[in-house]
Symmetry: D4
Subunit: 164 residues, 8 copies
C-alpha cells in the first residue's frame, strides 16, 4: 500500500472481499492517488467502524470507498458518520448475483447518500474517487482532472485499436 | 405505551414507519407483553442507535423488534451489538414493494443473525417476540406458551367459522 | 448428535439439505446447546411432520430450526402447530438461487410467524436459536447470553486481526 | 353453491381470497360441473386441512382447486395427502404482485405436483378442472370434452367478432 | 417408448429438452401409464404443432405434457387447440434460470389454462398426468388412484428411513 | 383506419390491448404510413392467427406489429409463419408490470426473431415499423427515411425548447 | 468479413462481445447479406460512436445490429442519431444473467425505438436484419424474402426430423 | 435558479423528470451551493448532450447530477465525455418501479463510473454533490464540510425529537 498521506480510504466488510476491492486500489495506483486499505466490518466491529468513519475527515481522508456483500451495511453506516463522500461497491456473494448487495447499498434514505457503482465494480469506485478528488480546487485537483482526461483518451485509443 | 418493565423494544428508523410497526405493538398488547417503542435511526443517529443496542439487555429488554425500509440497516446493526434476538421487519417504501428492505434485512452475514418476517409483517414480529419470550424457563414463559396455544386455537376457530 | 435433553430441533425437508443445515448444528455445538436433527418432510410425510410440531414443546424442545428449498413449506407448517419459535432456513436449489425458498418461508400470513434467515444461512439459524434460548430467565439463559457476548467479542477480534 | 355430488373442491386459505377464487366457481357453473367451496387454512387449521385432503377422494371429489397468497402452502400440502390432481391459484397480496404466491405454489419438490395457473388466474383453474374431468372415461367425461370444444369455439367467435 | 394406446403425449420444443423431459417419461413408466414422446416445435413447425394438438383427443391421448424454454409457447398453443388438459414444463435455458420459461407458460390468459409445474419439474409433470388419469371413472382410473396412494406411501417410507 | 394498401399490420391478442396499441397507429398516421389493425388472438383463434401470418406478405403487408400481455405468444407465433419482420409490444397486465409479457416476447429461440420494444412501448413499435420501411430501396423508402430524419430533428427541437 | 457494399453494420461495445455477436455475422453469411463488423464503444469513444451512427445511412448501411452488456447504451445511442432500424443484442455479463443488459436496451423512451432480441440472441439479430432487408421493394428484397421462406422450411424439416 | 457561477449542473432527460429532480436543487439551495438545471436528452439531442458534458468542466461546473428513466443513458454518456464526477438518479417510470432505470445507470462498464443513488433519490444526489465539493481543498470546501456536519447534526436532532 502507499506511503504519503492517504486521500482515499478503501474499506471492506471482510478480507474475502479483497479480490474484488483490490481493483479500486489498482485504479488509484494508476492515477497516483495515495490511499489506505483496511478491513472494517459494520457487523463484527461496529464501534470501530463508526470510529473509522468519524475520524476519517480529520485524519486527512477525502473519499471513502467501502465494499460489502449481502445485507451490505458498511457503506451506508460510514456515510452516516462522515461528511465525506462515500462510494459503495456491491460485492456479489454466492447467491443472488449481488442484487441483495446492490439494493442494500444504493437504496439509502434521504439525507445519507452513498455513491454506488456496479456489482463488483471496484475499479470504477477507484476511478470515481479520483474524479471526486479532481473536482476540487488547487493544483492537485487540476493535475488529477488532466490525468483523467488522459485516461479517457487512452480508453478511446485502446477501444479504437480493437475496431476493424 | 405500557408501564411495567418492558421486555420487548420496538424500534424503527423513522416515525413514518409507525403505521406499519404499530401492528407489532398491538400484538404484544393482546398477549399482555410489556414493551417500549422508539424511533432509533441507524443512519441519522448511529451512535445513539448503537447505544440502544448495547444497553438493551442490561436495561431488561429480552427481544428487539426493528423495522426499516429501503437500504434497511437498523435490524442488522442492532443485532451486531446485542446478544438479544433481533426481529427485523422489512417496511415497504414507495418503490420496489419492499424487496430492497427484505434483502437488506434478511441477507445478514454469518455471525450476526436477524429473525426476519414478511414485508410489512409487523404483527408477526410481535407474535414472534411473544413466542421467543415463551420459549424460556419460568412461570412467565409458561404462561405465554399457553397464551400462544390459546391464540392459535382462536385463529383456527375463526378460520373454521368462515368455512361453509 | 448430542446426548442431553435437546433444546433445539433441527429439521429439514430432505437429507440433501444436510450439507447446508449442518452449519446450524455446528454453531450450536460451539455454544454447547444440545439439539437433535431429523428429516421431516412437509410434503412426503405430512402427518408425521405435524406430529413433530405438535409434540415439540412437550418433548422439551424450545426452538425449532427448519430448512427447506423451493416451495418450502416445512418452516411455516411447523409454526402453525407449535407455540415455539420456528427459525426458517431457505435452502437454495439448482435454479432461482434460493429466491423461491426465501419467499416461500418469509412471506407467512399474519398470525403464524417464521423467523427467517438468509439464503443458505443455517449457521445464523443456529446462532439465532442460541440467542432465543439466551433471552429467557434462569441460569442457563444467563450463561448463553454471556457466551453470545464472548462470541461477538471473538468475531470482533478476528475481524480486527485481518485489518491492516 | 351447487347441490349434486360435488366433483371439484374449491378451497382457499382465507375468505379474503374469495373475490379471486369465485372466478373458479363461476367457470364451473358455466360448464355445469358441481363443486363445493370452503375456507381451509393450511396455517390456521392445519389438522383440518390435512383431513380435508385425505378425505377428498373418498368423499367423491375428483379435483381440488386451492388458492392462497404469500407463503402459499395450501395447494402443496393438499397435494401431499391426496392422490387427486390439485390445481393451485397464486393469489396476489398487497406487495410483490403475487410473485411470492406463484413461487410458493409452483416450485414443488419432485413427487408432489401442483398444477399451477397464473397469478389471480382462478377462472383458468376452474376451466382446467373441467378439462381434467373431461379427460376421463365414460359419458360425463365425453359430455365435458364436448362442452370444452364448444367453449373454445365460443372464445374464438367472440374474439373474431372483435376483429375488424 | 411404449406400445399400447398412449394416453399421454409428451412433446417438447427441441430435442435438447429431452434430458429434462425424460423424467416425465420415467415417472409414467413407473406407474405403468402408456405414453408417446415427440419433438413438436411451436416456432419451427407451427402448423404441425397445431395439428398435433387438434388431433390429440381423437387419437386417444387424454393428457398432453409439453416442455419448452425461453419464450415458451408450446404448452399454451397446444392448450388453445385441444380440450385436453395440458401440463407445461418450464425448461431452463442458459440465462435467467428458467424464470422466462416459467412466466411464458404459467401466465396464460383467461380461457386457456396450462397446468404448470416447477422449473425443470418434468417428473412432477408425469406424476400430475397420472393423477389426472386417476381422477376419472372406470377401472383404470381406480387402479391409478391406488397406485398413486402406494406411490405416496413409498415416498413417506423412504423419507422416514432417512430420519434419525 | 387507413385506406390505401396497408404496409403495416397492427394486431393484438385482445381488444383490451387497444388503448396501448393505438399509439402504434398514431405514430404511423403521423408519418403517413398506411396500416391495418385487427384483433388476432393466438390463444382464442390460433388457426386464424396462423393464417393471418401466413398470408401477410402476399397480402402486401411488409411489417407486422403485434401486442400481447402475460404469456404473450402472438408476436412469436406470427414470426414463426411469416418471413416479414415482426415487432412485439409487451402489454402490461394487472400484475407483474409487464415483466411476464416482456420475457414471453423477447426470449425467442434462435431462428425466429421478434423485434421487441419496451413494456407498453407501442409508439416506438410504430416508429420502428416506419424505420424498417424506410430501410428499403425505392422512392417511398427514401421519403420515409427523410421523414424520420425530420421527426428526429423535431424531437431534438422540442427537447431543446424545454431546456433553460 | 465481407467484400461488397455492406448493408448491415454489426457493432459492439467491446471486442469481448465478439463471441456472442459473431452469431449475427454467421446468420448473415448464411443468407448472403453483406455486412461489416466493428468495435464502437458508446462509453469509450462516444464521439466516434455518434459519428458511426450519423454516417451509417449515407455510407449505404440499411440496418445496424448493436450488442452491449450491463448498462448497455450503444444500441439506444445509435438509434438516436440514425433513421435506420437498430437491432439491440443484450450481451450477458458475469452477474445478473443479462437482465441489466436487456432492460438497458429494450426500455427506450418514446421516439427512439430499438428492436431488441433475447439475451445473447445475436443469431436472431442477424436473421431479423435479413427480414428487414427483405421487407423492402426491389429484386434483392424479394430474393431475401424467398431465402427466409426457405430458411423457415429448413428449420421445420430439421425439427421434424428430430421427432419420433 | 441561482445566480453565481454554478458548481453543479443538474440535467435530466425530459422535463417530466423535474418533479423528481427538483429535490436535488432544493438540497443544494439549503446548503448554499450554486447550480444550474437543464433538460439535456441523451436520445433526443445526443450531440448537444455530448457537448454539454465536454464543456462542463471548462464552464466551471465541478459535479454533474443527471436523472433519467427507463433505458437511462444520460448519466453514463455524460460520464464518458467529462472528467467530472457524475451522479446518476434513476427516475422511476410507470412500470417496473425504476428497476430498469437503476440497472441502466449503475451497471456501467469498467472505466466510466457513475455515482448512483436510490430510485427517485434526487435529494441524496444533491447532498452527494455537496459532499463531493466539500471533499476538496480551500476555504469553500472547508465551509461545505462544516455545513454537512451541521446538516447531519440536525438530522440526528430531528430524528431524536421523534423518539419517545
Amino acid at each position: 500500500m502507499s506511503d504519503p498521506q492517504p486521500l482515499v480510504g478503501i474499506v471492506m466488510g471482510s478480507d474475502s472481499d479483497w479480490p474484488v476491492m483490490e481493483q479500486a486500489a489498482l485504479a488509484l495506483d494508476e492515477l497516483g492517488v495515495p490511499y489506505e486499505a483496511d478491513v472494517v466490518s459494520a457487523h463484527r466491529m461496529p464501534q470501530e467502524m463508526l470510529a473509522y468513519g468519524q475520524q476519517a475527515a480529520e485524519r486527512g481522508l477525502r473519499v471513502i470507498v467501502a465494499g460489502a456483500g449481502g445485507a451490505a451495511h458498511l457503506p451506508g453506516m460510514l456515510a452516516a458518520v462522515t461528511p465525506l463522500p462515500v462510494i459503495g461497491v456491491p460485492v456479489p456473494l454466492r447467491y443472488l448475483d449481488g442484487m441483495d448487495s446492490l439494493l442494500s447499498i444504493v437504496q439509502m434514505p434521504a439525507g445519507v447518500p452513498v455513491a454506488t457503482v456496479s456489482v463488483g465494480g471496484a475499479r470504477n469506485a477507484g476511478l470515481l474517487a479520483a474524479r471526486i478528488l479532481g473536482a476540487g480546487e488547487g493544483e492537485d485537483a487540476r493535475r488529477l482532472r488532466e490525468a483523467m482526461v488522459a485516461f479517457q483518451a487512452d480508453l478511446r485509443d485502446r477501444a479504437h485499436a480493437k475496431g476493424a
